[in-house]
């Protein structure tokens, strides 16, 4: 075949006519390491400005909420506007307590990874409200399909710290038998779905769970959490489509923390529109919320939960927040973004803002905060010590090796029995002392 008909272009791009040359746009974040940071162009609106529509509102009648920002806590540390969930002081203290605990836990586990006690950890610093406060607006038996940065939900639901640490250490106490990467928790008892490492897969699963609940005439709803970066996955599109088609009682929470490892949100489309605005094309209710405002996070999730529970339909909520630390212990953000971003973030820190609010309304003070932080640190330390009795990663105290072959299928098929026998022989060759010929060794 002649070159001209091969479908391959030659050396020179499209010449010979007068049409303008096309140009590819590759998004670039506002600042790179060392650059000054200015968020002046980020319109965060004013607390109390956004209206709170009825929970049965048609998506098309609340479009502004997909572009604005629902905020409750103001710079004056007071709660403003119709979205104020008017939580009792006790609930606020509980919320702050969970957030403080998440932060203390993250600090300790990050350090544990650096000390070689495990392979991997992921903090949620700066995003605590998006899981703790939002999670608290659900019933404890509503099903959550989290991504990997929702430890706040587990902590708020009372999952024991020691179980979390056992999982992070992949030790012999790990309920997941050392099979999952650290922080990929699962707890059916706490209506917390098994975390996948493949992104956004949980989103259609949450919709399916919600559909099942509706098929059965149950009253429980489902909620899922996904990062803004992975809304680019086809799974998220499937989730939105199925959610709207079946009017599923589900909440799709998009955590827009600005960064997907080193790729800024522009690579998921944020230069053109908001993530909440994705909802409109599907006919989903869309809310865009200050993710560093614990009260706004709670209020938005509560609105969506009420809507879903009343068969009024699904909601997509974008939480506008900032990933204050690296993606994980394997990441160093100083290589791709300006360290100044965290300082300049226009919506502050969620823990500080809630604390200051509670002080402002006379329900909290610095002394109690210090005491609480101390208590959290001590609790985490005690749980860590307890968990370490079950072993740390790589120190031999893991689940018996035969568990490697279990649960692939409900029953062990012949080929896995053969492979398990092979694994046994390998261990006997590697550690003959532990495997005396009389078979007494284990």
């Amino acid at each position: 075949m002649a070159d001209g008909a091969s479908g391959k272009s030659g050396d020179s791009p499209h010449t010979g006519d007068n049409r303008p040359a096309l140009a590819l746009h590759v998004p670039e974040p506002r600042s790179r390491p060392g650059d000054p940071v200015n968020f002046a162009d980020v319109d965060v609106g004013a607390p109390g400005d956004m209206p709170r529509p009825d929970e049965g509102c048609a998506p098309g009648e609340m479009k502004d909420l997909a572009y604005g920002l629902v905020r409750v806590l103001g710079d004056d540390n007071k709660a403003h506007g119709p979205w104020d969930p008017k939580l009792s002081p006790d609930t606020l203290r509980t919320m702050l307590g969970h957030m403080a605990m998440v932060r203390a836990f993250d600090e300790r586990m990050f350090r544990g990874q650096r000390q070689g006690k495990t392979s991997f950890y992921m903090k949620c610093t700066g995003e605590e409200a998006t899981s703790v406060s939002a999670g608290m607006a659900l019933a404890s038996d509503d099903m959550v399909f989290p991504s990997y940065r929702q430890q706040g939900i587990l902590i708020a639901r009372g999952y024991p710290l020691i179980e979390m640490i056992n999982q992070i250490y992949s030790n012999k106490g790990d309920k997941l038998k050392g099979r999952q990467l650290p922080i990929m928790y699962s707890s059916r008892e706490h209506s917390f779905f098994s975390i996948s490492g493949n992104l956004a897969t949980q989103t259609p699963q949450a919709v399916g769970w919600a559909m099942a609940s509706a098929i059965k005439g149950d009253s429980r709803i489902a909620a899922t959490w996904v990062g803004e970066g992975s809304t680019a996955e086809g799974d998220f599109h499937s989730a939105c489509t199925f959610a709207t088609v079946y009017n599923a009682p589900v909440i799709l929470n998009v955590i827009n923390n600005q960064w997907a490892i080193s790729s800024f949100s522009g690579f998921a489309g944020s230069e053109r529109t908001t993530f909440a605005a994705r909802a409109l094309g599907y006919g989903l209710a869309g809310l865009r919320v200050d993710g560093n405002d614990a009260l706004a996070c709670f209020a938005a999730q509560q609105w969506a939960a009420n809507r879903a529970r009343a068969n009024q339909g699904p909601t997509l909520i974008e939480y506008f927040t900032y990933r204050a630390e690296g993606h994980s212990t394997s990441d160093d953000p100083s290589g791709y973004r300006s360290a100044q971003e965290r300082e300049e973030w226009p919506l502050g820190d969620p823990v500080m803002r809630l604390k200051n609010h509670m002080i402002a309304i006379g329900e909290w003070d610095e002394e109690r905060q210090e005491a609480m932080d101390r208590k959290c640190a001590e609790e985490v330390k005690a749980a860590t010590k307890e968990a370490e009795k079950n072993g740390i990663l790589g120190h031999g105290l893991h689940h018996p090796f035969k568990t490697m072959f279990e649960d692939v299928f409900e029953e062990l098929p012949w080929h896995l029995k053969e492979q398990a026998a092979q694994a046994t022989r390998e261990r006997e060759i590697k550690w003959p002392d532990q495997h005396p010929k009389d078979g007494a060794g284990k």
Binding site: M143, S194, A206, T241
Partner: protein, 355 residues
Amino acid sequence: MSASDVKNAAATSEQGQDERRINMIEAINEALDIMLERDPDTIVMGEDVGYFGGVFRATAGLQEKHGKTRVFDTPISECGIIGVAVGMGAYGLRPIPEIQFADYIYPGLDQLISEAARLRYRSATDYIAPMTVRSPFGGGIFGGQTHSQSPEALFTHVAGLKTVIPATPYDAKGLLIASIEDNDPVIFFEPKRIYNGPFTGFYDKPVEPWKRHKDSVVPEGYYKIPLGKARQVTEGEQLTVLAYGTMVHVAEAVCADKGVEADILDLRTLMPLDIEAIEASVKRTGRCLIVHEATRTSGFGAELSALVTERCFYHLEAPVERVTGFDTPYPHSLEWAYFPGPVRIGEAIDKILKD
């Protein structure tokens, strides 16, 4: 369907009176109907499966009988279909999604491979994905390269998935019921070329309806065929033939045509595999032919060949032979040149029996 009906059907069948003969589509429809009736946690969903009853009619009448929340249409999104099925399984349902053609299953692969297949393992039994994914597969209906593929080896390669392929109406019903009741995710591939009648591979001859085939006698009620048990199609001492789906019938016809006495095993399930039956047969005959319609390289035949060689090497009188589709896309106009038909199979049999 009541228990007494089942008993009556079985009794009738034993006596050989009023034997009811149905085709494979009807058998599949019946299995779904029975399971929708017996288990309130089952749901059937997929593209066009609801009101319309499926492009191959496998779900005809089911929505009308069982209601719109048990049998319903879905968006054209295989990722979504499998994804929501995982969530439904986590809730406690037993979804039976249909993927309209096996060729369309690829957008759902991440949900199958990374999610459904590993859920039990990764959650240490907290959650399971007890779904049965039904999908018509294979060629022979002039479906071109997007309606003819046999992708079973992609699934047998995945730890945690079961792969089931029936070859007769009787098996289709019993295996589908067993698959639905199984607590592991099952890929249930239906050889669409033989939905309406067994296919001998002689494509220019008139289609035989299932009515004349002994395995179209299907009891009316509930019955199961255990997963992992091969079916002895014919007994013979000259060679063993390992096949599944459409190719069982083609191999049988070729052997009959050539007057070869073959021990033909219909594998029925590729995972779990009935290795005992395979070993016993090959050790007896000393010769083994593997037949599948899928492309050759890294096909399931490669696994079978390796297993037979590893386990029966000192009993073999000839090298193991594979007859497969070619390593090309399934061509539309050259369908019958691609299809591993009587000539290709016959040649392989001659080669195996030569010495």
